[in-house]
Amino acid sequence: MKKVFYKILIVSIVSIIFIYGFSGSYSISNTDNISYVTALGIDLSDDKSSLQVTFEFMDTSSFFTSGDSSNTPPIINTIAATSISSAINLLNVYVEKNINLSHCKVFVFSQELAKKGISSELTELMNNPQVRPTSNLIISKCSAREYVQNSTSSLEKILTKYYDIFPKGSRSTGYTANITIGNFYNNLLTKSSGNLAILGNLNELYPSESNSSQNSSSSESSDSSGSMMSSSSGKNSSSSSSEEKNTDEDNKKAKKKQAEKGTISVKNLIAGDSNIVGDRGTENIGLAVFNNGKYVGELNAMDTLCHLLIQEDVISFLLTIDNPEIYEHYIDVTLKENISPHISIDISNENPIININIDLTGRIALIKNSTTVPEENNIDLDKISNAVNFSLKNEILEYLNKTKNTFNCDVDNFYRDAKRKFKTIDEYQKYDWINKYKNCDFNVNVNSLIHLGIIDS
């Protein structure tokens, strides 16, 4: 019995020692002591020397009863600090729990900050073991705080699900891309290439809170260190009847604006050029272009589509082309890539030649003609196919020349294919691809096979 007693005693003592030893980590990582950030927005402060970091928290109380958070707006706090880590540190003082970034779905940087360069902020984020490399990176043309505040999910009841889904939906449109912070950072370390991020902006036609910050309950407080913190609730606050009237008026205004805007061609569509009226606070169309960690320009919807075609990152997309037979009429074609685009680089000349071959198949979605009654048409598929090829080729060439001339960076990562031509890294570095790219020539070849739509076939 004595032996058993001693054994139990030793086991108890060892357990107590370990419980004591790990209690520190338990106390800070326990669910009771943590609050999770779902979106992080980083702006440049007014004095341009520090950052304004916006934290979005979900109000979890609504999850308990029905899992429905549609009526409960997220909680948004903004704090000014010199870096993201110090912002988190400061916010831990104000907020009752420890901030944790392991469920942060999006990181939003303002365009202003992006122009200055975001390499150090990204390095800081990637050094944080809590940050998911699969979180999306968004550059907002408005301020990051406005973007985060106005992010709404009308079809998704839970905002975090919206953050998960919207970048992945881009594979069927081609107007934006699923760019993650991990891939961005991976490319950032390569001096040979440019970088892309999702481009976002407020929906102009949506009655946003950016203009009505006095409507929401806000409080500002300052502490002795001069950091300012403001908090507000999100967009979908419960409204009274007077606010309902305001919303109706806002809708009318929005519709009027939409009418004034007219139809915007897809070619030039970019985040902020909204022509949608409805419960859409923000929109994400196009991509932001970076060179060495600094924002240098943006790609519109068509440019983005061309980029995704070259990267084989789009499942299917809709293309509108002019009807080759009837003037001022158009044809909508649904296309998808058959096989990976074949990219070959010829470095035998002084200037490299980049050959791109893209193979597509498609179906006709719509042939717009002047009569209201559908007629039997002898549809010349070859002509349509040629028209698609020609249109796409021009768009891709225009896009590639833009990257070369305007952005001066290899956004499509052709350097990876160029590396095949060299045996060692030294040889490749001597070749100096970055500078050679500025003078390279492109040969784009698009082959498409068009079929009739389901009804006509």
Partner: protein
């Protein structure tokens, strides 16, 4: 002495190599060879197979005895003692380095408010308990744990296919032939399991199977080395690899199947913890056996206590040396090549020569 089955012996070798590879060596290979890491890993695998073959050929004349017995045959108990101490140093050093590496990683990621000594103590206590179990428990459990670990690495390789940039293997020679082949040969330290080959023959049910077992173990590990190096090379920029805790762990953070299967890195750490526990158990049993051999004691169970204390003290002193991360790469390589490769093969060659000499003398 309890014997191992062939399968257990193979997986012991694989375990010893895979821990070094995942925690330290993969990073060093990719950092030094850049795009030619895969070539380098294939090259060092071939080199390891050649060295294994040489060791097995040199062992042919000594069936059923280990390196310490051969050292005793050459130079008596004194040489046996010296050789034993050298190998003990290597095994303890490798245990300490890997233990420090994983405990550092755990502390940074999950246990930032916990003093590292508690994490070290957890491993050391577990090792102590396991080495006290009878019936070669460590070798049987090692079979299960190593299999799970290898399956995990394979799954990581498969799950990350969406994230691979296949052109990362170009330029094919990386930093040049010098870096890939000549300097790259130093990456052979990944195959730390070769140390077990010197002590394997008496432990097998049939000592003549040692060649088969050794080659199988090295071959299986080579496949997984190539897989893990490929994963890292195809996923990351080499500059990104340098600063990471250990790259395979980071690569798991990128795995994303819908919104359900994500952030499985803690599950990987669970498997790593089990695997390191198994590694410590195997290595500690090897240390106990070396010590038992050189001190000529009958029961090796009490030897566990001083060895564990020694391991704990080495780990604590390594933690205090902040620049050790830089030193460990070179020091590990130096110790491996000097003790495991040079000294081991040298003793075997001397043993063979003496055996021929003795045979001729007897014949005359």
């Amino acid at each position: 002495m309890k014997k191992f089955s062939n399968k257990e012996a193979i997986f012991i070798i694989v375990n010893l190599c895979s821990n070094i590879s995942i925690l330290i060596a993969d990073q060093i290979i990719v950092d030094s060879c850049y795009s030619s890491s895969i070539l380098n890993s294939i090259f060092i695998s071939i080199l390891a197979l050649v060295i294994t073959t040489i060791i097995c050929i040199l062992y042919k004349k000594f069936v059923g005895i280990n390196l310490l017995d051969i050292a005793e045959f050459i130079g008596g108990k004194f040489l046996k003692f010296i050789i034993g101490i050298f190998f003990l140093i290597y095994v303890m050093f490798s245990m300490a380095v890997l233990l420090c590496k994983l405990t550092n990683c755990l502390q940074i990621v999950y246990y930032s408010m916990t003093d590292i000594i508690y994490i070290l103590l957890s491993f050391i206590l577990a090792t102590g308990f396991i080495c006290r179990l009878s019936n070669n428990a460590f070798s049987k459990s090692n079979l299960i744990v190593t299999s799970v670990s290898l399956i995990a690495i394979f799954l990581v390789f498969i799950a990350n296919t969406n994230n691979y940039i296949y052109n990362n293997i170009f330029p094919i020679l990386g930093n040049g032939i010098n870096s890939t082949i000549i300097d790259g040969a130093t990456n052979l330290f990944t195959f730390g399991g070769i140390v077990y080959l010197y002590f394997l023959p008496p432990k097998l049910n049939n000592p003549k199977d040692s060649f088969k077992v050794s080659i199988s173990g090295i071959l299986i590990f080579s496949i997984f080395l190539v897989i893990s190096v490929t994963t890292i090379t195809l996923m990351f920029n080499p500059k990104l690899v340098k600063g990471q805790l250990f790259p395979i762990y980071t690569s798991i953070k990128y795995i994303d199947f819908g919104t359900f299967f994500e952030r499985l890195d803690s599950v990987f750490l669970l498997i790593r913890v089990m695997n390191l526990g198994s590694f410590l158990g195997v290595s500690m049993s090897l240390c106990m056996e070396i010590l038992k051999n050189i001190l000529s004691v009958t029961d090796d169970k009490p030897l566990i206590y001083p060895l564990l204390l020694l391991l704990l003290s080495i780990c604590i002193s390594l933690e205090k040396i902040s620049k050790f991360d830089i030193l460990e790469n070179n020091l590990f390589k130096i110790i491996f090549f000097s003790i495991v490769i040079s000294l081991g093969i040298f003793i075997l060659i001397l043993g063979n020569i003496k055996k021929i000499f003795v045979k001729n003398k007897v014949y005359r």
